[in-house]
Symmetry: C2
Subunit: 344 residues, 2 copies
Amino acid sequence: MKLSARKLRILQAIIDDYIRSAEPVGSRTLAKKYELGISSATIRNEMSDLEEMGFLEQPHTSAGRVPSDKAYRLYVDKLMKVRSLDQREAEYIKETYESTIDQIEQIIFHTAEILSEVTNYTSLAMAPRLNKVMIRHIQLVQVDEELALLLIVTSSGILRDTLIRIPEGINNDYLSRVSNILNEQFRGKTIDQINTEEISSTWDKFLKNRKFLSSLLDILIQRFRESEKREVYLGGTTNIFNFPEYQDIIRAQSFLNLMEEKDLLYDILANSAEDGVWVSIGSENSYDELHDCSIVTATYSLEDRVLGTIGLIGPTRMEYSKAVSVMDYMGKALSRYLTKLYGR
Amino acid sequence: MKLSARKLRILQAIIDDYIRSAEPVGSRTLAKKYELGISSATIRNEMSDLEEMGFLEQPHTSAGRVPSDKAYRLYVDKLMKVRSLDQREAEYIKETYESTIDQIEQIIFHTAEILSEVTNYTSLAMAPRLNKVMIRHIQLVQVDEELALLLIVTSSGILRDTLIRIPEGINNDYLSRVSNILNEQFRGKTIDQINTEEISSTWDKFLKNRKFLSSLLDILIQRFRESEKREVYLGGTTNIFNFPEYQDIIRAQSFLNLMEEKDLLYDILANSAEDGVWVSIGSENSYDELHDCSIVTATYSLEDRVLGTIGLIGPTRMEYSKAVSVMDYMGKALSRYLTKLYGR
DNA sequence: GTTTAGCACTCAACAAAGGAGAGTGCTAAC
DNA sequence: GTTAGCACTCTCCTTTGTTGAGTGCTAAAC
């Protein structure tokens, strides 16, 4: 069977209506509300065809029909008109960025909050993958007799540091010699590329303070490990209660429990598109728990390195056109903002 | 009317039973399950008295009875036996502390997670109030031609830092002169005690780079402001679904929404006891939204300065004896751990 | 004076029964 | 190919009993 223009029009009307109302759509409603120029009986016949073709589903015999995941996919790919973002919303996003602080993690966290505010969906934001970023500078700074600070600066200005205790009798000169060696070893590499054994052997130059030096290395490595931490920030988790499909306590709970599985969420974001906006609908998701959710993601970058992904999650009956336009805008705005702050 | 020993025994039995079952307790159940040595009719009479005295409430005529907030208060103050913590749980807490990282905020966050794991309640943890902590050292470190790092070390080793851009032609010497001045101004003060105007006038010594210096000051002040940030970490928010009283979607939602109001939660923690464990039951809470929750808090300290508060929140039908013992243990364990890490 | 057995009464919770309403599929006519 | 009409289906809601746990009261027993 072919998807005639009329069938498409009807399908579009059903999807639009269902996205708005969350109620199965019947032929009579359709005939009355949308100016399709055909009677409900004709619509019934067409709907029957659409069901046979897998675009519609019936919760039970005497209910209206509901779009299938396949229908949403068609909608997203062909039918939907992606509006560009509302002037007011774009303005709002811009403004909030201007007033934020400059720690990269905080910016991402804040981004998640804005996303959920603007869309009323639950938002996800993956912390930047700093292990893809080059180390630019490592330095030990003496704070006082007991303490020194170990600094790691990456090529994008992102910073890690740790306060460490130093043994007695170590002075600033000594620390800067150590710094130089560390720099030789690390500079220009990404965290992924570091070879710890090689470094360890370098310490042989230093006869004294072996213990201190190797603990220093431990700390460094630990800090690098942390950068690989698969952190996900969430926004608007309780927005899910706004949707009638989550009025059921069991479903709401299982959704919220899912949102606590940061590792899984991270995987979802990490496995979405490599660049740009990406939509995954219901059963397209590789995780069972998400079979009645849809996810819209966008990547964000610093200069032209993709650092991470942000996303929205909601019922399959999602306002895709809005979600896609917001994500598109947001991914770009965030990238611009990061590049402005940390780019060269 | 006097609270006879028998009335107390009955009340205790009712509270114990209700805490376990969440079902109104009837006289027959009581007579059968607990060896009180009296018949259900006698218990009925006593229960009627207890209701008159305000210790019991009846959801409706033909239901059993439920302890009132007043009863829980009596229970917490007089009746309950505070067990010391289960060996296994104490062990578990100790172990997890040993494997954590050393950023103070992370430790606190992790504490919240442990708390909710051990108790199955929702946990709260207030970030440390660093504005009560003395500034020990401020330093500017040059990273390369464009960037420098501004460091603030407090008396308890807690660190804040920011990467800043420096104007051309500024060298390390210059930065260390500036550092010295900043140190003169700030060292030994708490963040609360800083007088920004006084500092601003100090810049007059420097003819060049006024703009850089004043932006530096802005950043410093901003960082201090951040330290006053009223941050609260949560653990186990979805644990609330385990309780039958939150099977109702409206109540669950309003609870979860409440948990998003970080400012309010911060206030609650900040206004609990100044030191040690504290219990607030139902209507004792000053916020309406919490009238059917109870909160158990404990403070944590570094050396002997109280830095913040951790807490548990759950239905008034809470296992107070467990909650109190866990909070007591945890407050102390956290303080010990912080002191070990950051104390002198 | 307490304690207890017995009984009438109350009320929520559950289940069954009976519309009402929305929607479908089919048929026959246009 | 389109449409009106009608029988049929199925959920949802309301109504109506029924059950069971629990109470309060009274009168007898201790």
